[in-house]
C-alpha cells in the first residue's frame, strides 16, 4: 500500500495543474477535476480490498525516516477508521465533481472552483490518513481555508457575509487546536500520535491533561458545529454553491470535527467510559440538545438550504450521542450515521442546485406557488429524506437502530426513548420540503440535465444497495472494523509503533 501519499498528492497535483492548463481551454479544468476524483475513488475502493491483507493497519514512513526506535519523521497511518473516512470523502467528491460540470454554468471562474475543490479534497484525505499531530493541523487548515473561499464563491452580499463569519469562527477553532498541540508538544516532546499515546499512558492525568482535552474538544466541536457552537453553520452551508454545501455538510464537518476528535480522544488520549465517564456524559447531553433545538429550528425554516443546514446540526447531535455512548454499538451507530448522512445529506443539498436554477428561488413558500414542477428531483429528494429519517429499507435506518441498541446496552433507557421519538422530528422537517415543493400535480415540467441526473442516481443507488446489503456487506467489512479501531483505544499506539 505504498501508494498512500497519492490520496493527498493527486488532488494537490490537479489543483496546481488546473490554473496552468485551463489557460489553454477552460473546459480542461472539468476534465482534470473529474479524472482526479475518479482516480481517488478507485484508489480508495482498492484500499478497501487491500487493507485486510496488511492486518487492517498500514504505516507509511514519509521519506523513509524510520518509525523505530524513535519516530523522527512524519508518518501516514492507515487503519480501518481512516479507510471509512477516505471512502466517504471520495464517494461524495466523485458525485459532486460530476454534478459540478453542468452546475458551474451559472458561475464564472470555473477553474478557480476546481482548484479550491481539489485543495479541499486533498486536505480532507490528508486528515483521514495522517498519523502526525502537526500534520493534522496543517491539513485541517488547508481544507478549512479552501472552504472559506468556496463559501464566498458566488461573491454576492450574503455569501461574503457568511464567509467572513465562518472564517473568524473557524480560525478561532484552528488556533485553539494549535494551542493544544503546543501544550501537547511541551509535555511529550513528540508529534507522532502513537508516540504521544505511549507517553501519556505513564503520565499522571493532571490539570494540564484535562486542559489540553478541553481545548481540543472546544476546537473540534466548533469545527463539527455541535450545539452550542453551531451558529456559523446555517449561514455558511446555505450560502455555498450546491456541490460545496453537499461536501461541507456531507463530509467536511465530520472529517474535521468528528473523525479528528474521536481519533485523538479514543486512540491518543485513551479516554473511555471507565476512566472519563463525565466527559462522555457531556457529549451525550450536548448531542441531545443539538438534536432537539436544531430540529425544532429546522422545522420553522422557510429556506430550502437553511432547513437542510439546521438538519445537519441535528444529525451531528446523533453522531455525538453515539460517540458519547462509547460502547461498540454506539460507535457503530455513529460511524454508520456518518456514512448514511454523508450520502443522504449530500444528495439533498445537490437537489437544491437544479431547483434554484430552474425556479429562481429557494424560499419554500414561493416555491409552493410556482407553476413548475420537477418530478425527478422530487423522487430523489424524497428517497434521500426517507433514508435520513431512518425508514427501514434504506441505509439511514441502521445507524438509528444501533444508537438505540447502544443506549439500551449502557442501561440508558431514557436516551433510547429520546432518540426514538426525535427521529420522527427528522421526518417531519425533511418532508416539509417534499410536501410544499415536490407534490405539485400541475404546471410545466422541468427536466434536470444529464450529468446532474447521473450524480443523483449514483447516490440513490448507493443509499439503496448499501441499505439492502447492510448486514451482508457494509457492516462486517467496513463499519464494525472501523468501530473496533476506535474501541481498542491506545492499543493503536502499540500497533503503529511495533511495525
Amino acid at each position: 500500500m505504498n501508494y498512500l501519499p497519492l490520496f493527498t498528492a493527486l488532488p494537490l497535483l490537479g489543483a496546481f495543474l488546473i490554473p496552468l492548463l485551463s489557460k489553454i481551454w477552460e473546459r480542461l479544468s472539468d476534465i482534470i477535476g473529474n479524472i482526479i476524483t475518479t482516480l481517488l475513488l478507485i484508489l480508495s475502493i482498492y484500499s478497501l480490498f487491500l487493507l485486510p491483507i496488511f492486518g487492517n493497519i498500514y504505516v507509511y514512513e514519509i521519506g523513509k525516516w524510520p518509525i523505530k526506535p524513535i519516530p523522527l519523521g512524519i508518518v501516514f497511518t492507515f487503519d480501518s477508521l481512516s479507510l471509512l473516512m477516505v471512502l466517504i470523502i471520495n464517494l461524495l467528491s466523485f458525485a459532486c465533481a460530476i454534478y459540478s460540470i453542468t452546475y458551474l454554468d451559472n458561475y464564472t471562474g470555473r477553474w478557480k472552483f476546481w482548484t479550491l475543490f481539489l485543495l479541499m479534497v486533498a486536505g480532507l484525505n490528508g486528515i483521514a490518513i495522517t498519523g502526525d499531530l502537526f500534520n493534522l493541523f496543517v491539513f485541517i487548515e488547508i481544507s478549512a481555508i479552501s472552504s472559506y473561499a468556496l463559501v464566498a464563491f458566488g461573491v454576492e452580499k450574503e455569501d461574503l457575509e457568511a464567509s467572513f463569519k465562518y472564517q473568524v469562527i473557524g480560525e478561532i477553532a484552528g488556533l485553539t487546536i494549535l494551542l493544544a498541540i503546543a501544550l501537547i508538544y511541551s509535555k511529550t516532546s513528540t508529534l507522532n500520535m502513537a508516540d504521544i499515546a505511549n507517553t501519556f499512558i505513564n503520565e499522571n492525568k493532571g490539570t494540564l491533561f484535562w486542559f489540553i482535552i478541553s481545548l481540543l474538544t472546544f476546537g473540534f466541536l466548533i469545527k463539527s458545529a455541535l450545539f452550542p457552537f453551531h451558529f456559523w453553520l446555517p449561514d455558511a452551508h446555505s450560502q455555498a454553491p450546491a456541490p460545496i454545501s453537499a461536501m461541507l455538510s456531507g463530509v467536511f464537518i465530520k472529517t474535521l470535527g468528528v473523525y479528528a476528535l474521536s481519533r485523538l480522544i479514543f486512540n491518543v488520549f485513551g479516554l473511555n467510559r471507565n476512566n472519563a465517564s463525565h466527559y462522555f456524559d457531556i457529549l451525550i447531553i450536548l448531542g441531545i440538545l443539538s438534536i432537539i433545538i436544531a430540529g425544532f429550528i429546522a422545522l420553522k425554516q422557510e429556506n430550502y438550504k437553511r432547513l437542510l443546514a439546521y438538519s445537519s446540526v441535528s444529525q451531528i447531535g446523533y453522531i455525538f450521542v453515539g460517540l458519547g455512548i462509547a460502547n461498540f454499538w454506539g460507535i457503530t451507530g455513529a460511524l454508520s450515521l456518518i456514512f448514511a448522512h454523508a450520502l443522504g445529506k449530500g444528495l439533498l443539498f445537490l437537489t437544491a442546485g437544479p431547483v434554484e436554477r430552474e425556479m429562481g428561488t429557494l424560499d419554500i413558500n414561493e416555491l409552493a406557488f410556482l407553476k413548475k414542477r420537477m418530478p425527478f428531483s422530487g423522487i430523489v429528494y424524497t428517497l434521500g429524506a426517507l433514508s435520513l429519517a431512518g425508514i427501514p429499507p434504506f441505509l439511514g435506518f441502521f445507524p438509528k437502530l444501533f444508537l438505540i441498541l447502544g443506549a439500551i446496552k449502557e442501561k440508558m433507557f431514557w436516551l433510547a426513548i429520546v432518540l426514538g421519538i426525535f427521529s420522527l422530528l427528522t421526518l417531519a422537517y425533511l418532508l416539509k420540503i417534499t410536501n410544499k415543493v415536490f407534490t405539485k400535480r400541475e404546471g410545466e415540467e422541468v427536466k434536470e440535465s444529464g450529468l446532474i441526473a447521473i450524480s443523483f442516481l449514483f447516490l440513490v443507488f448507493l443509499i439503496l444497495i448499501l441499505g439492502i446489503f447492510y448486514f451482508n456487506y457494509l457492516e462486517p467489512n467496513l463499519i464494525s472494523k472501523a468501530s473496533e479501531a476506535i474501541i481498542r483505544g491506545i492499543e493503536y499506539a502499540r500497533l503503529v509503533l511495533m511495525r
Binding site: E141, I145, F164, Q239
Partner: protein, 112 residues
Amino acid sequence: MLPYLGCIILFLIGIYAILTKRNLIKIAIGFCLLEYAVNLFFAFIGYKKDALAPIYTNAQQARNFVDPIPQALVLTAIVIGLGTTALLLSVAIRIYEKYKTFDIKEIKRLKE
C-alpha cells in the same frame, strides 16, 4: 514566567477585539493578535536557558541545545496565518465594495 504572561495578555486582547469591535478590519487585527499570541507561545516552548543554537558543532562534550522543532512548526503556522489573514482581508474588501461599510451592525442580510 513573564513572557508567558505577555502571551496570555496578547491572547486576551485579541479575543476582546474579536468580540467587541464592530469594524471588520479591527476584527481582522484582533484575529492577527490571537494568532501571534499562539505562535509566540509555541516558540517559547523550545527555549532553554543558556542553551546553544542547534547547529552542528565540533565540540567534543555533549552541549545543551535549544529545541529546534517548535521554531520549524511556528514557521509553518505563520505561513498558514498569512494565508488566512490575506483571505480574511480580501473578503472584507469585497464586503466593503458591496455594502459600502465595514460596520458589522449594518452587514446582516442573513436572518436568524
